[in-house]
Structure formats: C-alpha cells, structure tokens
Amino acid sequence: MSLRTPLGKARGLGSAKDGTHHFWVQRLTAIALIPLTIWFVAALVSLAGAGHGEVTDWLSKPVPAILMLLLIVSGMYHLKLGLQVIVEDYVHGEGLKLTSQIAITLGCAAVGFAAAFSVLKISLGS
C-alpha cells in the first residue's frame, strides 16, 4: 500500500480537468430538453399508429425536423455527460474506466450522428 499522501499524489498534475464546464453544459442541455421533451411526447402521441408515409411527411416539414435535430443534439450530449458521471462514481479500475468513457463518448456521438443523419435524409429529400 502506497504511503504517499493524497496531496503528494495530486501536486504537479495540473487542474482536475473541467468540472465546471461539465456541470454547466449538463444544466444547459437539461433546460433545452424541457420544452423539447414536451414537444417530443406530444408529437409521438399525435403520430400513434402512423405509417411510414405519414412519419416521413411529418419529418419533411422544417419545424419538426429542426426540433428533432435539437432534441438529438441536446439529448445525446446530456446522455454522454450523465453516463460519464455514472462511470466516474462506480468504476475505479483505470483500464475499465478509460475504456468505458471512450465507449460512451464515441457511442453517443455515433448514435446521435446516425439519428441526425436520418432526419436530414428524410427532410432534405431522398
């Protein structure tokens, strides 16, 4: 067991990354997601049972497409930040922690990109 004090280990390593930014962007995306979520639920309810044509017609219109894109971007960023703190709280093995954080970041980016691309493909035309 190492006899170094916590301060001894921390000194000289620089700042503990950017916690304030994380905190702020998590709140910012949360605020954006309140109206976007309400709109999203209302939209899905109105589209209950809708077929392919109805869904693509709806997503072709500018306002639904824009709101969906905003939902995807804020939602995926919010998700990434949230999953990051979950890993920070529960995963302590350095290798597993790093792998998880990388997987989360890349995963959220990939899924977000795929969803956004789909919206753009539908709304900007085949």
């Binding site: 949360a30 309140i34 309400i38 999953l83 302590h92 093995g93 795929a114 789909s118």
Partner: protein, 131 residues
C-alpha cells in the same frame, strides 16, 4: 484510487428506512441510464424511416408487439420521471427547495406526477389510434 477496493461495506440498504428523497435520487440516475438505452430505439426508428417502408415496417411491428409496448411504456414513465425530477434538480441548482419538507413533497410530486403523465400520454395515444 487506482486499485479496486475489496474492503467490506457497512450494511446500509438493508438497515435504513427508504425515504422518497433517497429513492428519487437513485431513480433519477437509473431512469437516465434507461433513457439512454431507449435512445437506441429512437435512433432505430429514425434510421428505419429514412431507409424505406420495408425497414420501417420491422420497427413498427416490434413497437406494436407486447414487448415493444412494454418497453415503450417503461420508456415513457422513465422520461416523465426524469423530466419532473430534473426540474426539481434545477430548482436545487438555483438554491431552492432544500428544506426537508419541501424536498420530500417535491419528491412525491415527481413520482406521482410521472405515473399520471405516463397514463395520460398513453391514453391520448390510444385515442389517436382509435380515432
């Protein structure tokens, strides 16, 4: 701490009485993670819509099935709870609502409100489909 900790924990979950504040806190995290899994479904739905009617029919059939509906129902509740509890969190960030009575009341509002909103949303959905 780089090494994993294998020292025993003093029992707590089996000892202390569950409060709504405790429960809503961990539920906020759990629903957040569950919603994360749910976004995979949303992405699938969008991808299928962009791919064409055949791909879309696969998603539609899954969502219409019993498993799909159960997942969707759970997703709706998780979304409603995370939304209401998230607003509660934002109030805390503004410095409001930390008094124990207030936190307990708002906690119950989040739990009960989420169930109510879920039922309303689903009732409305069935109305739209039936009409």
């Amino acid at each position: 701490m780089a090494q994993t900790n294998s020292r025993p924990l003093s029992p707590h979950l089996q000892v202390y009485r569950w409060t709504v504040t405790m429960a809503s806190s961990i539920l906020h995290r759990a629903t957040g993670a569950a919603l994360g899994a749910g976004t995979l479904l949303l992405a699938w739905w969008l991808l299928a819509a962009a791919s064409g009617p055949d791909a879309f029919e696969v998603v539609q059939d899954f969502m219409a099935g019993i498993i799909g509906r159960l997942i969707l129902f759970g997703f709706t509740w998780a979304l409603m709870f995370h939304l209401l509890n998230g607003i509660r969190h934002l109030a805390w960030d503004a410095g409001k609502g930390f008094e124990l009575k207030t936190a307990t009341t708002t906690g119950w509002l989040a739990v009960i409100g989420s169930v109510v909103l879920t039922l309303i949303a689903w009732w409305l959905g069935y109305q739209v489909m039936g009409g």
